[in-house]
């Protein structure tokens, strides 16, 4: 009944949005549909040369969101190198738990506040309206469903563009590609199977892992006290700071300072750590699929910028890092 009611509500929005021809409203509907509807299916994620299939089950009962993702396959190279098995991801509200078999152990990692597919669009679109333009494209079929194509085009060179296939009826995000300014697809995620989840049963929301095996909590959690002596003087337009944390990284003596900037969809992290004796400084730039990495050395600190953003903002952010005492001396 709940599904029916929300579907009716969403199709009412749909009718008005097509009338006003507003692609932004369609995106808004898509952002809500991913979080409010009950569905299950399989999606395929492709980034660079890597591919992964994931089974997803999503339910929203009385405003409580529950989701399970089971990674169905694994890269044979990666698994032989790391001894890793497919992982399971559980989320409830904004809490995420990742479980993975590793060397006869279950490794458990906790995260918070990440938007997982198909909830890739922010519910508050105001943050991206200034940086992107939205236009309706053609109608196509994805996973047996009719989909409305919406192009979310970057207004400048500081971010990638996105092509979005939203279910013509429910608005659910069926497919999304990340496109660079040469119109080359860098990343793609799409449903290959999708159906509504009609049962209210929540038995699926429990790990399939072997409970007889021992487990360990992954220890890469943030250190609470955060005070840093550096700033990013000039951010690429549209980006705002969303998080700042001191990170205990395995193998590093000192906690690493991490600041995350986002333009509403794309995000980029800046890491700053002192170059201690024996540490080899890194410099330059490289790309892995949609991810760019830039490094430079500043006043005895290693600055590393990592993000699913184009090279330009990556370099610009790396260049704009400066230490506070310097700016104070300049004034």
């Amino acid at each position: 009944m709940k599904l029916f009611a929300s579907a009716l509500f969403l199709s009412l929005i749909s009718a008005s949005c097509l009338a006003s021809d507003d692609a932004w409203l369609a995106l808004q509907k898509s952002a809500h549909a991913a979080r409010e509807l009950n569905y299950q299916g399989v999606f395929v994620y492709v980034n660079g040369k890597q591919t992964s299939s994931v089974q997803v089950t999503h339910m929203n009962t009385a405003g409580r969101e529950m989701m399970r993702n089971v990674v169905l396959d694994n890269n044979p190279q990666a698994s032989s190198a790391n001894g890793n098995q497919p992982r399971e991801v559980y989320s409830q509200g904004s809490d995420i738990v990742i479980m993975q078999q590793k060397n006869q152990k279950t490794v458990i990692e906790k995260r918070r506040g990440q938007n997982l597919f198909p909830a890739m669009l922010p519910t508050d679109l105001r943050s991206i309206k200034a940086s992107y333009s939205a236009n309706f494209g053609a109608k196509e079929y994805v996973a047996g469903r009719e989909a409305q194509v919406i192009d979310l085009i970057s207004n400048d060179a500081f971010r990638y563009s996105y092509k979005i296939w939203a279910d013509a009826e429910y608005g659910l995000l069926l497919k999304m590609t990340l496109v660079d300014n040469k119109n080359k697809t860098l990343e793609q995620i799409e449903f290959t199977q999708l159906s509504t989840l009609n049962s209210q049963d929540v038995n699926w929301f429990q790990p399939k892992i072997d409970v007889t095996k021992s487990y360990e909590m992954q220890n890469n959690t943030a250190v609470n006290q955060v005070h840093s002596n550096w700033i990013v003087a000039e951010l690429p337009i549209g980006y705002v700071k969303v998080e700042h944390r001191a990170l205990a990284v395995p193998g590093k003596v000192m906690p690493v300072d991490q600041v995350i900037f986002s333009d509403g969809i794309g995000s980029v992290s800046v890491f700053v750590e002192p170059l201690i004796k024996g540490m080899r400084p890194k410099m330059g730039q490289m790309s892995i699929g949609s991810t760019n990495v830039c490094a430079r050395v500043l006043d005895g600190y290693q600055v590393t910028v990592v993000g699913e953003v184009p090279v330009l903002p990556c370099l610009q952010i790396a260049k704009a890092v400066s230490f506070k005492k310097q700016t104070a001396a300049d004034k």
Partner: protein, 177 residues
Amino acid sequence: MKDQLSALIDGELGIESAEHLIASTKAGGELKQCWAHYHLIGDVMRGEVNNSHSISARVMAALENEPIIFSPNASYIQNTIHSDALEANTSAPSGASTRYAKSYQNIKNNKLWSVAASVAAVMFVGVMVLQLNQAEELAPVEIAQSVPMEYLQAHQAAAPNGAAIYIQNASFSEQKP
């Protein structure tokens, strides 16, 4: 090519338009040497090379105090005059006094230049030796040669949009594109 490399190091040339430079620098050879030399020169100019500053200062001070002797080498002058005289026989005649003044000027210039050149050479070699001793542990490495996996992981773990969560391990195996 070398001018472009220099411009790249000085930040006057965008990294996005320097792919060919980076490729040929990586390939080794002359350009790779230039890369090392330009950075070395830059380090020296910024005074980032330990001790080299005091050496160059001492050399410069010594040079300052040293009297520059302009008295020409007698045999050299003899030879020069002799060859000039031979030349005078075959070409149009001219005043011997102006000829002598001219060769004296030449010698003086040569002398100055050779002093400057040897000082520069000594400085350069000295700096090279110092730099090589340090370079073994401090030379920066290209990020592509040493991908900071811990930071890719940390970014993906905290990024607001987490599609990479599904192929984390796989993408991490893709270290060498």
